[in-house]
Amino acid sequence: MSAARPCLYLAVAASPLAGCGEHQSVLNPAGPEALRLAQLTWLLFGFGAAVLGIVILAAVAAVRGSERVRAELASARTVAWAGIVFPSVALTGLLGYGVWVTRASIAGPGDESMLRIAVTGEQWWWRVHYPQSAGPPIAVANEIRIPTGRPVLFELRSADVIHSFWVPNLGGKVDMIPGRTTFLRLRADRTGVFRGQCAEYCGGPHALMALEVVAMSATDFDAWLHNQRAPAADPEFTIARRGRELFLAAGCGACHAVRGTAAAGMIGPDLTHLGSRRSVGIDTVATSEAGIAHFISEGQHIKPGNRMPPFRIFAPEDLNAVAAYLAGLR
């Protein structure tokens, strides 16, 4: 038991290291903003470690040191310099440095060269709009695609309560506040999928309010955006055509839009190109016919408390038809 105890302490002490993985991690920057934050993190960590070391040395000296050293430590001059002047100067300096480092990423509306993406936090998903020079914006949800190497300006809003937008691999965390627009500039320097998470408790399934930023090469991104701009294609197969009929008759269009059909609902996510997204219900179910069907009928079990009622009115073959239609919206 006495031999096991140090191992246990070590295991407990090491457990925060689990947060240092590559996924959704501040310590694994994928862009300049995140890199600056990571550097700031290491600087603060190093500085804190140095101060801790000095404090430990001083404590040892205060107990074991010679009479002269102890007198020196207890003198009014030491207390004034090390206890008042040093912390004031050091903390002010670090704060100034932190603000200076992050100033660029939260500065207001940027210039025309930036890609603008409007993200609205809603209970409990992300409404994402790519504004167009003409016509309505391209609406997607929960999955944000960006090109690498180009600065992106996020306009962050909230539709209900305070949410917070945070993609740790790409940059800092910015609150989405009802009635205000906040801004965040990010750039991804390498391709990859970077997970984000609502970082302000927003009720019910807040913990499941995640998002993914997919950084792609500029050409891939342009192709993707071009595809998203198009209305939904007509279904190829009979089952999917039947699915579309059921989708409209069952009232799905009251909350969801599928551009190119009568479905124009604004309450829930736009489904025009649902089949091209990586997951359904934010990161909970893979975008497959089975996954979509499962979410339609059992969404309240997958993401408890979400605003979509469970639709268990369909016969199995009808549910499969609706799922086939939606999965085919690529």
């Binding site: 059921l246 069952a250 009232g251 609902g265 309450i267």
Partner: protein, 377 residues
């Protein structure tokens, strides 16, 4: 002296407890022996001793009075509420309690206690007490509780009728409880071979109307021209108890699979009936907006998306429906009324987002021209 007392004191409570315990034990043993021996006569035909009768009635009155204390009766003079209550009374209560022109069944009369004939001798209960009795029933009397305890709205309809009952003669009672239903006299052969339906107790038309006539009360939905699939689903849900209603559950539970199909097809194919719209009221702008566009900012989808002409046959049509009925259903959902049907799973969360103004705006549908969905499918 004092020391003697203190010596005896600790022993006294112990001795008293001992006596009490053996007394209680002896009594329990005597009671058990009494029941075990079979000496007690459980015959309903023999009645109670007067003293027992008085004691039981005394206990019942006090229990009902105490337990109904926290209840407050709503307004009970709405003629539609009274008609709904009358129609249920006719099918659910008259067998045991009689009605003007309908004597208590001889079988029910042999119960102990024999159920009071409410047409002639109803105890002067308060409304709240009657509500409590109808809701919970009374132990040892054969009076059952309400099938769906949560449907206070239905129970109050019965109470509204009971208040009215003493003043009714046979003719007025029939008009109130049977509405436009004409009881067809059965031939001798039919009487002999077909399960008869005494006094039309199970007739759907008493509440819902039939060909040529609409519902008797605006608290009752118009079924004429609704989609067959929707009507069948509703009857099945009542029958299996997933849709709570003390009025509909017992009736639907009596229907076989084919009865449900035939009944649904009958109403689906009737010419749609229009709710007798309250004259002079114009449909509200809010109602029109909710029906056609919804209120996206508040998470309310457009009603017409599911209740329109081309919607699934699984959904009811609302055009021309009774506004009071629709508002009542929405309020039940908004109040968190528990229903485990697949339809309620969709509608209840939406109803909870509606304000009282929004619910009142459902009257918009009442004024719309109804059209048959049943015949089209």
């Amino acid at each position: 002296m004092r020391s003697e007392m203190s010596k005896r004191w600790p022993r006294r409570p112990a001795r008293i407890a001992g006596w009490l315990l053996s007394g209680v034990g002896g009594l329990a043993a005597a009671l058990f022996l009494f029941a075990w021996s079979g000496i007690y006569n459980v015959a309903a035909s023999s009645g109670h001793w007067t003293i027992v009768d008085w004691f039981l009635a005394f206990g019942m009155r006090n229990s009902v009075s105490l337990r109904s204390n926290a209840i407050t009766a709503p307004a009970l003079d709405d003629p539609d509420l009274i008609r709904l209550g009358a129609a249920h009374f006719h099918g659910g209560c008259a067998f045991c309690h009689g009605a003007p022109g309908i004597p208590v069944s001889p079988i029910a009369r042999q119960m102990l206690p024999s159920p009071p004939d409410l047409a002639t001798s109803m105890r002067p209960w308060k409304d709240e007490e009657l509500f409590w009795i109808v809701r919970h029933g009374i132990k040892y009397t054969g009076m059952p509780g309400w099938v769906a305890l949560e449907r206070a709205d239905e129970i109050w309809a019965v109470i509204a009728f009971l208040k009215r009952l003493p003043a009714l003669d046979a003719k007025n009672y029939r008009a109130l409880a049977l509405g436009d239903v004409e009881l067809v006299g059965q031939s001798g052969e039919e009487l002999a071979t077909v399960e008869s339906n005494p006094q039309g107790a199970g007739a759907c038309a008493r509440c819902h109307g039939a060909e040529g006539s609409g519902p008797a009360s605006d608290l009752v939905p118009i079924l004429h021209g609704q989609p067959t699939e929707f009507l069948m689903a509703a009857l099945r849900e009542y029958a299996e108890g997933s849709r709570p209603s003390g009025i509909m559950q017992p009736l639907a539970a009596d229907l076989g699979v084919q009865d449900i199909e035939r009944l649904a097809a009958y109403y689906a194919n009737l010419v749609p009936k229009q709710a007798p719209s309250t004259a002079g009221t114009r449909p509200s702008e809010r109602g029109r907006a909710l029906a056609t566009e919804g209120d996206p900012a508040n998470g309310i989808p457009a009603c017409n998306a599911c209740h329109g002409r081309d919607s699934l046959a699984r959904y009811p049509r609302l055009a021309g429906q009774n506004a009071a009925y629709m508002a009542g259903q929405l309020r039940l959902w908004a109040a968190g009324h528990h229903s485990s049907t697949s339809g309620a799973a969709i509608m209840a969360p939406i109803a909870r987002r509606l304000s009282e103004t929004d619910i009142a705006a459902a009257a918009y549908f009442e004024a719309l021209a109804s059209e048959s969905a049943g015949a089209r499918r």
